[in-house]
């Protein structure tokens, strides 16, 4: 991998004062362990994720990166036989605590999936779904939310004349941006993205990447990706997962130009994975 190119692409990460450090983190993960039945999938994860940044999680297949991101909005609970220990604080509250309402959490933390998964409804209804389930019924407000979300996901111009048409008529890339728009419609604080471009062609991928760059001004984004160049292009910080552990976590420029751990270096230089 061309290290000098990566350096020039990435941005300077501001150093913040310690007094503001609490506000800066959206997630603080402490000693997180996770088991699928008897398989130990996540081992002592300690990871603090920053506000208004793009955090990339990279690593080979089966390293636990998808498992980790799904723990952040507790979607992992849909898998039978999952057990966790440790703590994940979201804005100061432990989300693994059973008293934390999962609906409440997911209202704050949106998610975009690997495969575009629009509902078999119209484009309008896809976006309005989230606000509607949270009790927003005013047609005018819904109209505004739909337009704002679609504009936010840079797809408004492509679909504004066909809002009543079925979302399945859109191309794969458009569907994924629609799913991002659907996620924006509930105005979340954090957006989790689980390999959002792995099912897309290069041009659609580029569009989604540009979109992520814009979105980070308003949202904190955590993205799992298979694609190291993508992590280097769009993220501010990168965590490298291997066999359920965090091997290295630092700002993207450093991890790609000057990794401390031998395994990280091997992975990003393409020697395995």
């Amino acid at each position: 991998m061309n290290v000098t190119l990566l350096k020039s692409q990435s941005k300077q990460i501001e150093n913040t004062q310690t007094t503001h450090i609490e506000k800066q983190f959206v997630y603080k993960t402490t000693d997180l362990n996770l088991w699928y039945g008897s398989t130990h999938a996540l081992k002592n994860i300690n990871l603090d994720l920053h506000e208004n940044e793009v955090t990339a999680i990279i690593g080979p297949s089966g390293c636990g990166k998808s498992t980790y991101i799904k723990t952040l909005n507790r979607m992992i609970e849909m898998v039978p036989g999952v057990k966790t220990s440790g703590e994940i604080q979201y804005r100061g509250r432990n989300i693994l605590d059973k008293s934390y309402g999962v609906e409440d959490l997911r209202t704050q933390v949106g998610m975009v999936f690997q495969k575009p998964n629009p509902f078999p409804k119209s484009i309008y209804e896809n976006i309005a779904y989230g606000p509607k389930i949270h009790g927003i019924k005013n047609k005018k407000v819904l109209d505004e939310i739909v337009e704002k979300s679609l504009r936010g996901a840079a797809i408004w111009d492509e679909v504004k004349d066909r809002l009543k048409e079925n979302a399945y008529g859109l191309s794969g890339g458009q569907q994924q941006r629609l799913c991002i728009a659907r996620c924006l419609a509930i105005e979340p604080d954090v957006i989790l993205m689980d390999e959002p471009t792995s099912a897309l062609d290069p041009i659609s991928t580029l569009k989604v990447e540009e979109l992520i760059q814009e979105l980070k001004n308003d949202f904190s984004i955590i993205i799992v990706t298979h694609n190291m160049q993508q992590a280097a292009r769009i993220s501010d910080r990168t965590a490298f997962f291997l066999s359920g552990e965090v091997v290295e976590y630092r700002d993207t420029t450093t991890i790609f130009s000057n990794p401390t751990d031998k395994r990280t270096e091997d992975y990003i230089s393409g020697r395995f994975g």
Partner: protein, 293 residues
């Protein structure tokens, strides 16, 4: 490189392989033909026998000892009354059970044991359900030989079919759609109501209608609970007694006079048309509302 596939053997085997293929094609065709022929003969007999009796009077007259005055008014209206009870009861209970089993119940051994038993219940002879209805509804709940007792018994009979069909329809909704809904903070009920049910309703309705058409044709459970075969009045409430088409047909076929046999054929024709209409609706729903994922 030496060749392991002997071209001579291949060439020698070729004609017999092809002939065998032809033989099996013929055998399968004959099997199909057998069923079709029997069905054709049945249709022919029923139509030639019964068509002459089908007129307005046939629908407007009650059962009678004189064949020329006999009609299916009580039985036809009775069948509709029965459906009025069976359709809501079995659909609400059946779809509710299917939703619970697929969406809410924990996936453990106990749940799969229950699911297995429900599938088995679909194969239990209908007369057994009749005995169950006699014990519970007619005697224990003292509903007598009413539309309600018969309707509840029939609902029990078709419930397993509706549950299994609904479960399959619900299971065929991709899990990605559920995930999308849950990830936005929707509750399970909101997800079921707004995502799962709209996507599975064609399958549920198809299964439901097919189950109802089974209920229309069933006689055994009604005989067991003592529904009369000869009725010369219409039920006024669901607590009144009544009769249904297959009971009326059964009654006529057991009479010695030839005219009653023809009346039975006419009754069968009416029932067949009713069933064909219902099954066509099921097919229409399946084709029209089917969504691609």
């Amino acid at each position: 490189m030496s060749k392991l596939v002997d071209k001579e053997i291949v060439a020698k085997k070729m004609p017999s392989r092809i002939i065998r293929n032809q033989i099996f094609k013929g055998l399968f065709f004959l099997s199909t033909l057998f069923g079709l022929l029997v069905l054709g003969v049945l249709f022919y007999r029923i139509i030639t026998q019964g068509i002459g009796y089908i007129d307005l009077d046939f629908f407007q007259n009650f059962a009678s000892r004189r064949p020329e005055n006999a009609g299916i008014k009580a039985a036809f209206i009775g069948t509709i009354w029965l459906m009025v009870v069976v359709a809501p009861v079995s659909l609400i209970l059946g779809v509710g059970t299917a939703i619970y089993l697929e969406e809410y119940a924990k996936k453990n051994k106990f749940t799969s044991f229950i699911k297995l038993n429900i599938s088995n219940l679909a194969g239990v002879p209908s007369i057994v359900f009749g005995l169950l209805g006699l014990t519970i509804f007619v005697r224990a709940m003292a509903l007598e030989r009413s539309v309600l007792a018969a309707g509840l018994t029939m609902s029990l009979l078709v419930l397993p079919v509706i549950i299994v069909a609904s479960q399959e329809a619900i299971r065929s909704v991709p899990k990605e759609l559920r995930e999308a809904s849950f990830a936005m903070g929707a509750t399970k009920w909101q997800t079921v109501l707004k995502v799962v049910l709209p996507a599975s309703i064609p399958g549920i309705l198809t299964g439901g209608i097919l189950a109802l058409s089974r209920a229309i044709g069933e006689t055994a459970p009604l005989i067991v609970i003592g529904i009369p075969m000869f009725v010369a009045f219409l039920p006024k409430t669901i607590m009144d007694t009544f009769t249904v088409l297959p009971m009326q047909i059964y009654n006529w076929t057991s009479r010695p006079q030839a005219e009653f046999q023809d009346l039975a054929a006419a009754g069968i024709l009416v029932m067949l048309v009713l069933l064909i209409v219902m099954n066509s609706i099921a097919v229409f729903i399946r084709n029209h509302f089917q969504k691609r994922y």
